[in-house]
Amino acid sequence: MKRQTLVIAGLALLSTNAFASKARVEALGQDAAHGSEYISDSRNVFRNPAVLNDTKNYLVTEWGTAASSDSATAPRAEGGFFREAGSFAYGLYLGNSNGLDTTNRNGTNFLNQVNAMDLFFAGDMGVKWGAKLHFASSKDETGTFEKKNSAFGLGLGAVMGAAEAYIDLTLSDKSTGATASASHEWKQKPSFLLGGSYAWEGTTFFANYASSKYEVKTTSTATTKGSAINVGAGRTMEINPTARIYTDVTLKLATDEVAAGKTKTTKLPVTLGVEAEATSWLTLRGSVSQNVILNDTKNTAGKKSSTANSTDVNAGATLNFGKLKVDGVIGTTDSNRAATTAAEKGVLATDNLLTRVGVTYMF
């Protein structure tokens, strides 16, 4: 009986860890940038580098364009590899960014964080630990004024049985020189994402706190501060070794502050997801999420408004070719091919079979 349980647990772990992409995480209604707090996915290494101890020996490529920003409809090219070395593990990932992209840097005015590189190192000494170094540097001397960007970040994490703790620090991110003046500057002050989780009776309780601040110095200085608290619980229900149901509920409190005032959001999204191996070569997944009961944004004038149409259905698939997996999102192609942008119109398009594709090779 014990052996059977172990085998089933092993298979379940294998089936959940076997995928690794932004597409999978998004299709299950989770955070593509940092991974999930409770769903096992190698993308979680960006939240907690200690996860690398359990997800290693693979190479992943996220298809996309050479862009500074990343979104489901316009993905950025990135990828890397993760490998074990004795009782340690290490990894190199190219192209990941911290999310403060062109929008926050006034478009083409300042240099964005480009050609970013993340180095991972992890080990297991009874306590699983991991570290991540993030680095990016670029400059452009071809314009009227020289432009430069440099960024440096550090991530640390630990996994202690059922408990996890992590911190993702942005130590510096600075763009100097702009289209209009050499003295203009975009600068992110030390910012962080701090959190942890504890799995109890099959449910993972989690909490995290994010704080960020950046300044844009032109003829004047504009400061943007942001903070967010997420407290929630998620549960993975193993139906059988090839299928899982995911449920989570998260209280999200966020504040963004600019000179004009503060914008506060209070939301309680509920997510229901499913993932099943349809055949030996095909895994299908999907999720629905919606803000329930709490769904307010209070603007700088103190006026509240609800987020309309917060119901979000996502779906995805993985084509399995042994050690090679092709993940993607499905259902984002409009029935009308004249459209240049993605649209979720309930269409299963076989010409655009998968979008936001990520390919993983396990070795």
Binding site: N299, A338, K345
Partner: protein, 427 residues
Amino acid sequence: MKKLLTVGTALLLLSTSAFASKARLQALGEDKDGSFYIPDYRNLYFNPSEINSLGNMAVLEWGNAGQTFGGLSLDFDSATKAQGGVLYSLSNGMKVGAILGDETDVAALTRALASNSLTATASQFLQTADNVLDVFVGGSAAVNWGANLLYTNSRSEVTGSRYKQNSLATRLGANSGAWNAHLLLALGAKAEAPDNTQVPTYKGKFGARVGGGYDLSPESKVFVMYESYSWKQDNNVTEEREGSFNKGILGYGHTKKVNDGGSLFAKAQVEATNIKLSAVTGLVQAKINRLAIPVTIGYEHVAKDWLTLRGSVVQNLWGTVKDEGLTANFGTPASAADFSTTGKTLRLLANGRYGSSTSGNGGKKTLANSTTVNAGATLTFGSLSVDGLVAATPASRTGTLNSTANTNGGVLALDNLETRVALTYKF
């Protein structure tokens, strides 16, 4: 014989209950919100006691915000609304479920009616019911019973785009042996948009739906349903009005299992719909009276162990519509597009869903070209199924997706393999 009948019924139930989606019902010529004679999870929205016949399942109807008209959105085939949820059996035998995002067209359209008068445009519509939460519970005692609570509440205090909307409703249902009965009570609904040009307000007065069915045999069923919703609406152009939406259905449905993998469906029903806007004094009353006797013939066949195909043809044996006061109350549309892009919403109701004349000049006419063909398919991967409509894609890929095969020139498109897709997992 009795055993054969039991096995036959079980197979019938298995084959029909194995799929579950708006797309499936639509392909079989039924209302996407539920059927009175074809088993499907969507029937929960008529009779919550149906939860007792459903196993554990997760369903995801793909889409997004739907077709939006200002703050109002409708679930169109060309722009579906996202929704989904989970139904689950507790260890004590009770069933529970939660479905997110189910927003009915009728509720949206009654608010649309209250949104405008002669000149209002789509941007001036009242906010539709949004972020709807449906909670279901059911169990078996002397009878199978089920209950549902629907809740929606949203608002904006932002100057220039202020609105409020909320509604609360409950559905109750029971079934035992050959009979079933259901009741919906609208416990309250309000919508207002003080910053819209015409300052529209909507307040639900009374809303109820009552109905039931009886199995004449394992294959045939009679059913009846009556629903009535009334409301008060006001704006700064016209005086306060009262609106009402009444609909009654009396029908007979027959399901015939013709082989191990195939079933035929047939239905005939009498539908009477009456939509009315009454001015308290003075203004012309606007109303639509629609009477139709549609006949539906459908099939569902397991073509392969991974593919099930289905389709239907529907046509009115009798169908007339009489309208009055539309132009006087809602203006003359400049073009056919006016019906879906501007505020001629009573006509949109009439034309899009209830087959009224497009002229709006009043009078009675036959519901022309009532023959519609729908088709759908399910891709089955064990416990996982992917339902969708097929043949809704026009030959031109720059054309608008339509709801029925006969409006698209009979194209079987392989690129848009399925539309109005739903993913269902049973566990």
